[in-house]
């Protein structure tokens, strides 16, 4: 299928007023490298306009151009028909454009109100007017449905409430344009709904909302129009109602998506590779018994906070844990540490890529080889030739897209970081690979490559454990699913039983009556 089957470009809305923000032929180059070019888009008051694209498509750059954080190399911006050129983010803010950052940028030891007014305090004479600020803060917080009080310390707020404070900060002054940069990346489902309500509220109040997101279901639910970017080029602007999520994904990737999930394998009848009995982690807060079979993907489902990561970190010796029985290939396993497990062929790929997976300020090669230094070791010392060759292999085999190998890991995009991490654990040639959130925060092209990789690995007789909060992924990949709730394994699903509904039911209902119950 080519783009012919896709919805046609929407005819102009022919709005009676000039767009709140119009970009004309916007481009950005850093030195000789053009990262964005030919961007022309209109943003109207009272619409939600989504920007979608794979990682590296230029979404962040576009957003920075629109919010004054970067200056365009070519093209120009108009607001309400007037030519504008922002020399700084403050200038853009002054003109009524607010940006809600993806990361939480708040001072944890200050109160909510102090954060909201940081740098633009209301003063009376030479003293700050705390009462006026608290009053105004309370209004804004109430208007977006935040439960936090102006006097609360940000440190004491849960992550989602902090995100709301950040949104409140953007809305403190009258805004014509509000740009959300992946606002739901850190939020759980319930909080996502609250956020979507705020976005709709803004739209109804006549604000022009630019919404950048990875999550296509959100885009489908929220957006009036969708602009697709790919490789720094604008693919087009579409009427959201005419696009399905699949259409959007295909426009982003630029090709028809093959089946995202590989076909299921035959149920594994083989003897277990690893048997774990009576594993108890964090002094019993998480516990469970399970086995892992060769040639299967074992999915681990459950809500966030159900103890999935903790259970496996305990198995790896990364948390205090004890076990009645740990048997690998019929042999009892005596030492359970990351290094000991690696030596017997079991590795764990953390969900926390940036905090626990990669040394962001270190080059690619030392990152790649850290878990498997013996493999690049000569007689007396590390062999740099072997190390460089290993990196070349990894870049080729795992399709890590880099312009040069002389990069720090932190300079890679999320998808490429995940592939580097995958290459890192695979360097030890494991027979069991435990992957925690294999595709968190990475784009759909990289996702399908990782799914395909998992499939081929398992078909080659290895075993893979996939811990995932993304239900379609869990259901699409797994041959068998264990569901956790409150630190216990509450259900085992196999074959036809593996459906999103069954997983959610087991993960949330207080009494599970799904088959093959484990640890009731």
């Amino acid at each position: 299928m080519a783009s012919g089957a896709l919805p046609l470009r929407r005819p102009d809305l022919a709005p009676e007023t000039a767009p709140a923000l119009r970009a004309t032929d916007l481009a950005k180059a850093f030195g000789s490298i053009t990262v964005l070019s030919g961007i022309t888009l209109d943003l109207h008051a009272g619409e939600v306009h989504a920007i979608i694209g794979e990682n590296g498509a230029g979404k962040s750059t576009l957003m920075k151009l629109l919010s004054g954080h970067l200056r365009p190399s070519a093209g120009h911006l108009d607001m309400g028909g007037q030519r504008v050129a922002f020399t700084s983010a403050a200038a853009a803010e002054g003109a009524g454009i607010a940006l809600v950052h993806q990361e939480i940028l708040l001072a944890a030891d200050l109160t909510v109100a102090e954060n909201l007014f940081l740098g633009r305090e209301i003063t009376r004479g030479i003293t700050v007017d705390d009462r006026a600020m608290n009053r105004r803060a309370a209004e804004v917080l109430r208007s977006i449905g935040a439960t936090g009080l102006p006097q609360d310390l940000v440190r004491d707020l849960p992550l989602a409430q902090r995100q709301l404070v950040q949104i409140a900060r953007a809305l403190l002054d009258e805004r014509k344009v509000v740009i959300f940069d992946e606002p739901t990346a850190v939020l759980a489902n319930k909080e996502v709904e609250a956020l979507m309500r705020i976005v709709r509220q803004l739209r109804d109040a006549g604000v022009a909302v630019l919404y950048i997101s990875h999550r296509l279901e959100e885009v489908e639910a929220l957006a009036d129009r969708v602009t697709v970017l790919r490789d720094g080029q604008m693919i087009g602007t579409y009427d959201a109602a005419s696009l399905s999520q699949r259409n959007m994904a295909e426009l982003m990737v630029g090709r028809e998506l093959a089946m995202l999930y590989p076909p299921k394998r035959q149920a594994s009848k083989a003897a277990p590779l690893l048997e774990v009995g009576g594993l108890s982690v964090d002094h019993g807060r998480q516990s469970g018994s399970f086995d892992i079979r060769p040639g299967e993907v074992l999915g681990i489902g459950g809500m966030i906070g159900s103890g999935r990561t903790e259970l496996f970190e305990g198995l790896l010796g990364l948390r205090p844990a004890k076990a009645d029985k740990v048997v690998l290939n019929g042999q009892p396993v005596a030492r359970r540490s990351v290094a000991a497990w690696r030596d017997v062929g079991l590795v764990y790929l953390t969900e926390d890529r940036k905090g626990r997976g990669l040394l962001l300020e270190e080059r690619l090669a030392p990152n790649l080889t850290l878990l498997a230094l013996d493999r690049v070791h000569g007689a007396f010392a590390l062999n740099r030739g072997k190390e460089a060759a290993a990196l070349d292999d990894a870049i080729r085999d795992y399709d890590i897209r880099v312009r040069t190998v002389h990069l720090d890991a932190g300079q890679l995009s999320g998808g490429n970081q995940q592939k580097l991490l995958l290459a890192k654990v695979m360097m030890t040639d494991p027979s069991i690979v435990i992957i925690d959130e294999p595709t968190r925060g990475i784009d759909i092209g990289n996702k399908s490559q990782i799914y395909d990789f998992i499939d081929r690995m398992v078909r080659a007789g290895k075993a893979c454990v996939v811990i995932s909060s993304e239900l379609p992924e869990l259901v699409g990949l797994s041959d068998r699913v264990l569901v956790m709730r409150g630190g216990r394994i509450v259900a085992e699903l196999g074959g036809e039983e593996i459906t999103e509904a069954n997983v959610v039911y087991a993960a949330t209902s207080s009494r599970s009556d799904t088959p093959a119950e484990d640890n009731p």
């Binding site: 990364l318 070791h377 085999d397 399709d399 880099v402 190998v405 990789f453």
Partner: protein, 329 residues
């Protein structure tokens, strides 16, 4: 097994120079140039050898400090530890001199290495097993070592046995092929340090622990062992410096090695090693030690600033170096 069907290979194989890493060497070059312009005798052979020899001690200890700092720690006790090790070594040598003659020097030196390693191990174990900030731990041991040397010398001087002086003298004043022995020894320590940090598993793990303890843990690195080893390396370096230093003064006193921690940490930091850990620069540290000694030397030669202000100038240098780091980004 691979993800990609076909992809291009790696690009731009070969060297890439990070100019930010060249800073200490450029600074050293500028100072040497400035010195040559300010004073004719600055580049004379005697003066150059003198400067390099004097910097050797700080350099040797600073190599150890490069390991500690790149593993994410800090050791403030090196100056006091050096004095303490010197005192213990002299006592052992003096006690053995009547029976072993000049063989006492060898035994004493060996003993010094053991004591140095143990002092480092004490620092390292308190930091890792006790889980206490290294700043506090080594502040404590700094006081302890300093008090012990004051106690051992009874507030005065602990001289080395007269019978040993002549045999021991060459370790500081002798030379091999015209190169003073302290320089030879420091070169050996530097090369060993560079090999260990850049070419071995230990060095890689040391930097990983300093850069991000969690990543190291999740990559199977024995974090506590790596950190403790860094302090032991530091202790050994202190002992080597002590062994070379004793013949120069011939005694241990309560002020031996005083404020050396300032010089050592300054040398490491101006050499480009990140104080927060993760980035160790052995050759930068060497350049740092040379810069410090060259500046002190220039101050003495040129009479522009009182030599009593040397420590003040070094204090200024470390602050300026940190400011340059901050604003070069």
């Amino acid at each position: 097994m691979s993800i990609a069907s076909a992809q291009v290979g790696a690009k731009n194989r070969g060297w890439s120079i990070r100019w930010s890493d060249m800073g200490p060497f450029i600074a050293l070059g500028v100072i040497v140039l400035l010195g040559a312009l300010l004073n004719q005798s600055f580049l004379s052979e005697t003066n150059v050898l003198n400067v390099v020899t004097r910097s050797a001690f700080v350099a040797i200890i600073a190599i150890g400090a490069t390991f500690v700092i790149s593993s994410g720690g800090i050791d403030l006790s090196v100056g006091s530890m050096m004095a303490f090790v010197t005192g213990v070594m002299i006592m052992v040598m003096n006690a053995l001199a009547p029976s072993l003659g000049s063989g006492a020097i060898v035994v004493g030196a060996g003993f010094a290495l053991v004591v140095g390693a143990l002092c480092g191990a004490a620092n390292g174990l308190i930091v890792t097993i006790g889980r206490i900030e290294p700043f506090i731990v080594t502040l404590g041991t700094m006081g302890i070592f300093r008090a012990l040397i004051t106690f051992m010398t009874d507030g005065g001087s602990l001289p080395i046995d007269r019978g040993l002086r002549d045999a021991y003298r060459p370790v500081y004043f002798g030379s091999v092929l015209g190169v003073p022995i302290p320089i030879v020894i420091s070169l050996a320590v530097i090369l060993l340090g560079a090999f260990l940090l850049y070419r071995t598993k230990y060095g890689r793990r040391c930097a990983a622990v300093g850069a991000n303890t969690d990543v190291a843990r999740f990559s199977g690195v024995p974090v506590a062992r790596v950190q403790t080893t860094a302090y032991v390396i530091q202790g050994l370096c202190v002992a080597v410096a002590a062994i070379c230093y004793v013949p120069r003064l011939g005694a241990a006193t309560p002020t031996t090695g005083q404020l050396w921690e300032l010089q050592v940490i300054t040398a490491v930091v101006i050499g480009g090693t990140a104080l927060r850990g993760g980035k160790g620069r052995i050759w930068g540290t060497v350049a740092g030690a040379l810069i410090l000694e060259a500046i002190a030397n220039l101050m003495v030669l040129s009479d522009m600033v009182s030599e009593y202000l040397v420590a003040a100038v070094q204090g200024v240098i470390i602050i300026v170096a940190m400011l340059v780091h901050r604003f070069a980004k």
